[in-house]
């Protein structure tokens, strides 16, 4: 019971009257839940929050949040969010998208949004498949994946989404997973706190068309040895007994046993070091591979950069300061007029 008479917002308050229409067991449920509780905790104003999505299973998300929302067209959510944020800087704007929506048809809008750096949070549900269209491979599907459209295996070398985001000069790049609610919430909070465009890649299980795509990272048995959870200022340590670490030899990360190497010699995570962040994104081995490096989760990179919507407004303020509030008659008259009598 809070002292004030305003009830604190609960996750439930953020749900809508619509039945959630994802397949039973879909990873999307957990992400929705974490979002609702994170925003409730943050005590947002519903009416000042907008969820914009494209098309895909993941993009149904806005229907389940009792905020403002647009379930737009395939791949364009980032573009729509840009126009919204440019004109309504005070709103909290979230983009919900999938690996197909964001990286296939929406790839161009994504990279441009990242470089422009509006203060928008982008959640990329990566299930390495086209779910809504019933299972074709996506730009993140590993090569050779057998799907409806690739009965003999996919040919494409997949994107490394976070490497692409850094290449596009993103100012906040992170990764989380549907199966780790606590971590998800922490990352959502960090993204929300970041001033600028945040890209969060969420590993999400599509249990109908691509079940277990991330099992190596999410299953109890294998998680500890295949994942590396990044913590600011802390050394890169992983393993069931936290017995392993990552050391940088020149520019190559290597796994070392803490039995032989002291923690002080390990790679210390600094999310403001672009060079290191680039190397982290390249820790992208297939976990089944011998001596695969663990897959990093957490905030890879963050950078402070001016917000597009702010400098846009500044030019307007400056123009007004210099020329004065626009006067319509002056506008219509223009420079050169004459009288006819």
């Amino acid at each position: 019971m809070s002292a004030t008479d305003i009830q604190p917002l609960t996750a439930k308050d953020l749900a809508t009257d619509q039945d959630v229409r994802w397949c039973p067991g879909c990873g999307d449920y957990s992400i929705l839940k974490q979002m609702q509780s994170t925003l409730a905790e943050a005590g947002i104003k519903k009416e000042d929050t907008v969820f914009v999505s494209g098309i895909g299973c993941s993009s149904r998300f806005p229907y389940y949040m009792d905020t403002y929302g647009i379930h737009s067209i395939h791949g364009r959510a980032t573009a729509i969010a840009s126009g919204l944020k440019a004109t309504r800087p005070e709103l909290s704007v979230w983009v919900i998208t999938g690996d197909g929506d964001a990286l296939s048809i929406g790839g161009n809008h994504l990279i441009h949004a990242l470089r422009r750096n509006f203060d928008v949070n982008i959640l990329l549900f990566n299930n390495e498949i086209y779910g809504l269209t019933k299972g074709q491979y996506s730009p993140t599907s590993p090569r050779g994946q057998v799907t409806k459209s690739t009965p003999m295996g996919s040919l494409d070398h997949p994107f490394n989404p976070l490497a692409l985001a850094l290449g596009a000069d993103a100012t906040f790049v992170a990764r989380s997973m549907d199966r780790d609610p606590k971590h998800m919430r922490a990352i959502l909070q960090a993204a929300d706190a970041h001033k600028g465009t945040s890209l969060i890649e969420v590993y999400q299980n599509c249990n109908v068309f691509n079940d277990g795509a991330f099992a190596a990272f999410t299953d109890k048995g294998t998680k500890a040895s295949n994942t590396l959870f990044l913590e600011e200022g802390a050394p890169l340590i992983f393993g069931h007994e936290e017995e392993l670490g990552i050391r940088l030899s020149g520019m190559k990360p290597e796994v070392v046993a803490l039995s032989d190497v002291s923690k002080d010699d390990l790679w210390i995570h600094d999310s403001r070091d672009m060079g290191k962040a680039m190397l982290l994104t390249r820790m992208f081995d297939d976990p089944r591979k011998e001596s695969a490096l663990p897959r990093p989760f957490g905030v890879f990179y963050r950078e402070d950069r001016y917000l597009y919507e702010e400098v846009m407004q500044e030019q307007i303020d400056k123009a007004k300061a210099v020329k004065g509030e626009g006067d319509l008659d002056q506008l219509i008259r223009g420079g050169h007029t004459w009288k006819v009598v």
């Binding site: 573009a79 840009s82 809008h109 223009g334 007029t337 006819v340």
Partner: protein, 617 residues
Amino acid sequence: MGIVTEKKEDVIILFAGDSGDGMQLTGSLFSNTSAQFGNDISTFPNFPAEIRAPQGTVAGVSGFKLRFASIDIFTPGDEVEVMVAMNAAALKANIDQLKVGGTIIANSDGFDKKNLRLAKYDDESNPLLDESLDKFHLIEMDVTKMTRQALVDSGLGTKEIDRCKNMYVLGFLYWMYNRKLENTERFIREKFAKKPDIREANLKVLKAGYYFGDTNETFTTRYEVESANLPSGEYRSIMGNQGTALGLIVAAQKAGLGLFYGSYPITPASDILHELARHKEYGVKTFQAEDEIAAICASIGASYGGSLGVTASSGPGIALKGEAIGLAVMLELPLLVINVQRGGPSTGLPTKTEQSDLLQAMHGRNGEAPLVVIAPSSPSDCFETAIEAARISLEHMVPVMYLSDGFIANGSEPWKYPSAANIPAIHPRFADAKKELDGGVYYPYRRDENLVRSWATPGMKDLQHRVGGLEKDFETGNVSYDPENHARMVNARKQKVEKIADHIPLQGFEQGEESGELLILGWGSTSGAIRTAVRELIAEGHKVSHAQIRYLSPFPKNLDQVVKRFKHVLIPEINDGQLIQLINAKFDKRATPLNKVKGMPFTAREIKEKANELLSK
């Protein structure tokens, strides 16, 4: 030896030279002076498609057509009376526009071997020397030489000196047409305020050209074009793209909204972006997006946020927006889509004009997706029509397609501009929680008597709702796959557009009676040519009328009646026949097409000829 002054009603001058020769500036300076003097004017620039096609070649010729008259005129006119040719290519490219007996003012220096070769005159025969120009009145002057002489001791380099050439020609024409230099002198002083030597040079050459006429014995006649009796008032000269840009700013302010303009550069629409970007003090936000799809989507986002969202493009850029326009139709949000049409299909003829996107405007997206289509008919009409488009879009929650074209976008005319106070306010259909909430629930797709839904924008308490591109429930706006609901929504979206006919003026006539032998029915930029033709036809005693359709979807309610009352209906279009398909599909009256697909506007003569053909039936 005395100099005669001859009166003229209506003069057409074509300034033609190399892209580098400053013909566009020369032309607009003469226009301003004439406008200022009180003539009615109409201008039409004609640039090369390449940025800078090779100097001296025909592809590199830049022309500016100026018509000024003591009568009122509606087009840049057909045959040219005086042509300035700064070089051989300029002459070659434009000679067949010159009427027999017309005057050529040729810069002889531009007809040397090199220029003749570049202009591809066969075996470099020089038209100034052979008989090919006998049927014209040729005035040769070595502008380069005379300009250099005038500036021998200016201390400027030849390059800078030669840049003043156009002033010499301008000065001479001012003499020829009895014009004062003040105007142009003022302009020069302002423009080169920071470069005194350049300023003085230009002023000097301008005068030199003027005095050349005075002193040179050979010129025995000067001409005078008296001021036209335009309605009295304050005037300015305006180009179509400029008119559109100003209209948008005014509309947004009259609606009390921010203006967001999402666009991706393309010829000839880009100048609207350039113009708007210059007016940030009016709170205009211009956004140069990564492509046309992002541009319209950003504008949709802005509209959802409560701004007047506008996007614009031309040619292929509009084709790319089809999918997103469909979304806007579904969301039922305000949105302006401006199409400054150009020659198509595909990349087509980027710098030429055409009206060939009307049917795309009507049908260029998947599914039954009706919207409003509206078209300005002249450079100054762009201002009013842009405001009208915004009004409809904001008051009826519907996307509006605005069809301008290269001809009016780049053309200019004198404009008796209105005072802001006299432009009526626009009333967006904002939601109001007090009114809208029903048992605490907001129904975003409930409609008023005009079938218009309410506009709830983020920040409005208790009105949170979700919209999207999937078919929606008639009231809640939630996703609905119900067959009956789909039929109901398809119909509602159509009826909403059709009901707008109750809120627009009935179709009127530009000239002529409400019934008769022949109705010439136009839309968009053909207005001027039709008007000129009809004026003459009426003068010749024919029962001809002219109606120009501004509202193409929905049509004015009385259009059926309007076409019925004439024996013949002629529909001239700068396309292969598009409006006529809509008319023939909708009304029993069978119309006659007149089509021109040459990247060029109609001449009044072309329309008159066709009209006479019908009248003699």
